[in-house]
Amino acid sequence: MSNFTPKERLLKVLHKEKTDRPPIICPGGMMNAAIVDVMNRGGHVLPIAHSDDKLMAELAVDVFTNTGFENLGIPFCMTVEPEVLGSDVDYGSMKCEPKITQEVFSSSSAVDFHEFAVMLQTGRVNTVMQATYNVARRFPDIPVIGNLTGPVSTAASIVDPMIFLKDLRRNQLAAHKVMEYVSDFLIAYAALMIDNGADVISIADPTATGEILGPRMFCEYPLVYINKIVEAIHSQGVPVIVHICGNINAVKHALPELKADAISTDAMVNLRKLKEEFPKLITMGNVSTYLLEMATPEKVVNNTRHLLREGIDIIAPACGLSTSTPLDNIKAMSGAVKEK
């Protein structure tokens, strides 16, 4: 009865259409499955795959073939965008994801605005595009997910985050200008991903949580700018997943205003209740990454089956996976979704 290819299944769910079962995915970017077990098997390893398009593509394929996740996800970090916008990045190690070593601007007012056309030819933009094109061409039936670092997280990766958070309140004009700039850049960057074969765009914005910003600022900044990005991506006919980190209670009321096609949340959020409250929401998640790293495959299976029974639309890890997560646990998770 599995007449759907993984790409058809995911796209149907994102378009609120019926399928045989939920897709099981791990989008990439902040939520990627390039765990050490996978890299040891395939031999395509980080950190060098962060900046080599062929290795990046092969690693995405290794993740796909080893884990049972039904997608290809590019890239494997959250630093491509801030790097292009001027911040210094340390590519980390096999076990440790890249990080910003120094934000380039000391405050929102200090941000220099550059031409996107030029920037989109710098940094690792081309690496990401080549890798996307490579996997999209080779796997026409598997959805390719292009991952964006959300606008608040990107802004707080080019402006000192402590200052930026204060600017959101005391220097709103400058903060909005930076958000506008970053969002326009992300729109142009996502458009390139789509041109190169991305079927779905996933946005993760870990700095834009209700816990950090509170409801008022969540609605004033991330809600507005994420929606702007989502609408631009929609105009190219591509669906969007938005991941919100942490406890969403403070901003739950605003979720129906998000124009994303699916909302992914962390493990502490009860997705069944969220669906009851907002029946139109397509929910994604939220197998505990703590369980995935620490527990036995049986426990992972139980957690996954529980989510299936609750009718969660897309099964996925709840947040970024630890690189030391055992492959057996991930296979247990994907196996549990496919066993029906």
Binding site: E97, E211, T323
Partner: protein, 220 residues
């Protein structure tokens, strides 16, 4: 005059709660000019204001941007008052020392900075190691500074093992009992803290202060 003093201290606390840096400086200058004791002004004005801000944060009235701005106002007032502290008061009491930092591999330091601010305003002496700090560095600093508490934060699941490593190393070096280890950060949970053998888990910055007091038997 007494009335005036109480009123000024209250206004100073309010300036902190209202995130009003300029007002905090202005009031601190008036307080100095009026000859009010700087130590008392810090305690009953600035710290009292931060305590209210911390409570509002716990009650989800304030969020991180607000808390950061309160602390800016607090530090601005402190800058004016500190030079007027009488020498003996500065050295009067030995403060409990806390070594704090973000574990290796992680550069997200918003949470760590909040904990630092709140602990500092609650009377702890903070040794801030910064971000991306190796497990051994936490231990070296704690030994060198004779700290009571090691507070470690991470925001990334990929670096959680570094927290366990700090405790493993403390045990290996047979000095686990010398320090209380407090952990926190988005992916960390009570279950994780128990598993790695940490002394406490702080779900947020305001809780961290309460837990620090418990760990040091109310001495701060």
């Amino acid at each position: 005059m007494a009335n005036n003093k109480e009123e000024l201290l209250k206004q100073l606390a309010d300036a902190v709660v209202d995130m009003d840096e300029e007002k905090a400086v202005e009031l601190a200058q008036i307080i100095v000019a009026e000859g009010i004791d700087a130590y008392e002004a810090i305690e009953k004005g600035l710290s009292a204001g931060m305590e209210v801000a911390g409570r509002l944060f716990e009650e989800e009235e304030y969020f991180i941007p607000e808390l950061l701005m309160c602390s800016d106002a607090m530090y601005a007032g402190l800058g004016v008052l500190k030079p007027h502290l009488k020498a003996k008061e500065g050295a009067a009491e030995e403060k409990v020392k806390v070594v704090i930092g973000v574990i290796e591999g992680d550069t997200h330091d918003i949470g760590k900075n909040l904990v630092k601010i709140l602990l500092e305003t609650s009377g702890y002496e903070i040794i801030d190691l910064g971000r991306d700090i190796s497990p051994q560095k936490f231990i070296d600093a704690a030994k060198e500074q004779d700290a009571k508490i090691i507070a470690i934060s991470t925001l990334m699941t990929t670096t959680m093992d570094g927290l366990a490593e700090v405790i493993r190393l403390l045990r290996q070096q047979d000095i686990r009992e010398q320090f209380k280890v407090m952990v926190g950060g988005a992916p960390v949970s009570q279950a994780f803290a128990d598993k790695i053998g940490a002394d406490s888990y702080a779900v947020n910055a305001a809780t961290a202060v309460r837990l620090a007091r418990q760990l040091t038997d109310g001495v701060a």
